[in-house]
């Protein structure tokens, strides 16, 4: 039985469509991240589940029970959002035990869970502090503990780390991930940070313009996305116009300008126009002519970015291809204006149909 079922959910704000026929099943104990550009509807979706926004159509089931008529305070859902919303005049301990107290739970039964939560967030020694005496990261951990203190098994996180510094954010996401796994929670996490989503999720859901366009494990979505939008949104990609010229037992061969690339795609026909997507870090760069499966060009710019180096390579017909990977001493001899070959493995060549409305529009972020 799926823990959460979202069935044909739609929501409009005036003329703006925030959600359009959204369907999603989340399994018990699954950690699902929802990502998408600003305005894609990801926050509206999570607000509908939390009960703070009422959908126009569709339904939400939690453990099989329709949430439509269940008021927020009875949904038993923990909800944490970006703005840290602790009671400033209450000590940390009082903040966390506030929920069980107002719900009239017996102090003893509530205390066991509150104590466990304090242990998990490693703040037992700060229980008597006031929120503003803690760092932003610690305050957000307290907010998560408070959201769970009433015994919710479903946790909704809406950009919970958005207001924190990059380093603090990276540590905190792993800590929260471990805590939710230890407690056996089902989690739905909205974020705009691709790396955050991929690093902690069982499954990533991509939203665009009010719809879910694709979902899958982080590896699946990164290495072989079905949608061209996903290929661009989840990481950088070079997009190249190509034509299928041959079918081999491994997959089709495509032509880009006067260069040929082997792919593992078996679904395309000879003569079909396609878009090839290749991630900058899957290209190996070398001086001179490469052997198999490579593109050729001239180095237009080289930029050292700490531990990676980024090359801008131009093909004879003026297409720009970016290559980026960790600095490797053998490559330091490559200079601007050098003729280079860019070699790749066939399974790193992603093949997509040409989008009807054009590539530019299809991958647009807003």
């Amino acid at each position: 039985m799926p823990e959460v079922q979202i069935v044909r959910l739609s929501k409009r704000f005036g003329s703006i469509i925030a959600l359009e026929d959204v369907n999603l099943d989340i399994r018990e104990r699954e950690y699902v991240s929802i990502i998408g550009p600003s305005g894609c509807g990801k926050s509206t979706l999570i607000k509908c589940i939390a009960g703070v926004v009422v959908p126009d159509e569709g339904k939400i089931l939690v453990n099989g029970q329709a949430m439509g008529d269940v008021p927020i305070q009875h949904r038993r859902i923990g909800y944490v959002f970006q703005e840290i919303a602790l009671f400033p005049h209450m000590k940390i301990f009082e903040n966390v035990s506030y929920g069980p107290r107002v719900q009239g739970q017996a102090p003893q039964s509530a205390k066991a869970l509150v104590d466990e939560l304090f242990n998990l967030i490693k703040l037992s020694d700060r229980a008597d502090s006031f929120p503003l005496e803690l760092s932003g990261g610690a305050q957000q951990k307290v907010a998560v503990a408070r959201a769970l203190a009433s015994g919710s098994a479903l946790l909704l996180l809406d950009e919970p780390f958005g207001a924190l510094d990059a380093k603090v954010r990276a540590d905190l996401r792993y800590e929260i991930r471990k805590m939710t796994a230890d407690l056996g929670l089902t989690v739905l996490h909205v974020t705009h940070d691709q790396e955050e989503a991929m690093s902690i999720s069982d499954r990533v859901v991509i939203m665009k313009a009010g719809r879910i366009i694709e979902s899958g494990s982080p590896l699946e979505l990164y290495l072989s996305p079905k949608m061209i939008f996903t290929a661009n949104f989840l990481g950088e990609a070079n997009f190249l116009e190509a034509k299928v010229i041959q079918q081999t037992s491994a997959g089709v061969v495509v032509q880009i300008e006067d260069m040929h690339l082997q792919t593992l795609d078996r679904t395309r026909r000879v003569g079909e126009e396609v878009i090839i997507a290749i991630r900058p870090e899957f290209l190996s760069i070398a001086e001179g002519l490469g052997d198999e499966n490579c593109l050729k060009g001239r180095v237009a710019d080289i930029r050292f970015m700490g531990h990676t180096v980024r090359y801008e390579v131009e093909t004879t017909e003026g297409t720009t291809i970016y290559v980026e990977h960790p600095i490797c001493l053998g490559e330091l001899e490559i200079e601007t204006m050098d003729e280079v070959s860019l070699t790749m493995l066939p399974h790193h060549v992603m093949v997509h149909s040409v989008p009807e409305r054009g590539l530019e529009k299809e991958i647009q972020l807003e």
Binding site: G39, Q194, S199, F282, F304, E324, L365
Partner: protein, 375 residues
């Protein structure tokens, strides 16, 4: 020929009551250079930028812009454009009018101002919102409008305070290259404040790492990553593993360090004395992982047995947390290109790294955790 520095700060001090925000800071920024000021919250970055902009006055020290003393020069006569973190757009003007205001205020004709404004909006991917009012836009869009307005002035000196801070991660990556390209094309000298080390490394000619009002290192991104001058810089920029050790033996070409529980590693560094307490620093991407039974050339690499504690897929990299035989925990970062699948938790593996990839620092007098503390 040495280039005339476009901006030069000499022994600048700025105090706010008991707090010294900028503490005897000197730096040069060359003509047409793109410099990022990188530091944690509260390190003095914004104060530094406001001093150059002329919005606050230093208590001590000298400031030169184009070799002329600038402290007495009013902000509007410094030839600089300052884009603050809290961008203030005119709510009653459209996006296009807001951006055109930049060049108009500098005496450009209306026709030209509108042309430049449109061009900058296209660049910021906001051409389709030219006729909207600011409050109809998201925070990230408003920030791009403010940035477009700053860029449209074509000022000689561009001062940016966290210009990409409000943007979604994906757009952030795209626009940081645009921003750099634009500053370069129009020959602007740019000083850009950020707390995001990836952003600073990606776009700067040089990065100044700031902590508690002082510059800890000022160098190219390559140098900062490869040769950090302190444990703090190694930690704050790029991240690394920090292992406490004692120098066991010093040879002419290399040293042997003893880690916890007597585990020994060889390092190229020979600048530390025998028996000295040190910290060995290894970048996450220099820590290689091999199959348990794999033969590693022990003449070339340190190799240590370990176990995978956790593995995380980060897109272009896979990150593994490893417990070594002596109990120390290491983080490793492997390009996805070289490793199709993360190693499973619990798997026995061999960690190997080169003696030359280990940097060695004296153990800090204030303690390791305080030295590394970001806030």
């Amino acid at each position: 020929m040495t280039q005339m520095p476009s901006v030069k700060l000499v022994d600048i001090v700025k105090r706010f009551g008991a707090i010294t925000a900028i503490n005897r800071l000197s730096m040069d920024i060359a003509d047409e250079e793109y410099v990022c000021i990188l530091g944690p919250t509260g390190s003095g970055k914004t104060t530094l930028l406001r001093l150059i902009a002329g919005l606050t006055t230093p208590d001590e020290g000298e400031l030169y812009i184009d070799d002329k003393p600038a402290i007495e020069v009013p902000a509007e006569e410094r030839g600089a454009v300052y884009v603050p973190q809290q961008y203030a757009l005119f709510p009653h003007l459209t996006v296009l009018e807001n951006v055109a205001f930049g060049p108009l205020a500098r005496g450009v004709s209306e026709h030209e101002a509108l042309r430049v404004a449109r061009e900058m909006l296209e660049m910021m991917r906001l051409g389709h919102r030219a006729n909207s009012k600011p409050d109809e836009l998201s925070g990230g869009m408003q920030q791009r409008v403010a940035l477009a307005r700053g860029l449209a002035t074509k000022a000689k000196l561009l001062l940016l305070d966290e210009p990409l801070g409000a943007l979604d991660a994906r757009l952030h990556v795209e626009l940081r290259y645009k921003l750099r390209e634009l500053a370069e094309d129009s020959g602007m000298t740019t000083i850009h404040v950020t707390h995001d080390q990836a952003e600073a490394m990606a776009i700067s000619d040089r990065v100044a790492v700031l902590r508690e009002g002082r510059i800890r290192q000022y160098a190219t991104p390559f140098h900062i990553y490869m040769r950090p001058q302190s444990l703090f810089v190694a930690h704050f920029v790029g991240g690394a593993n920090f292992l406490q050790a004692v120098v066991a033996r010093r040879h002419p070409e290399e040293s042997v360090l003893e880690l916890h529980q007597g585990l020994k590693i060889t390092v190229r560094d020979t600048t530390h004395q025998s028996a000295e307490e040190v910290v060995a620093v290894i970048r996450e991407d220099h820590v290689n992982i091999g199959e348990y039974a794999q033969e590693v050339d022990s003449g070339k690499f340190n190799n240590i047995e370990g176990e995978i504690l956790s593995s995380r897929f980060l897109g272009s990299f896979v990150s593994h947390q490893i417990r070594l035989a002596n109990g120390d925990v290491l983080m490793s970062k492997t390009p996805t290109q070289r490793l199709e699948k993360p190693f499973p938790v619990g798997k026995k593996i061999v960690v190997y790294f080169k003696p030359s990839d280990t940097m060695v620092y004296s153990y800090p007098p204030i303690g390791l955790s305080r030295e590394l503390r970001v806030l």
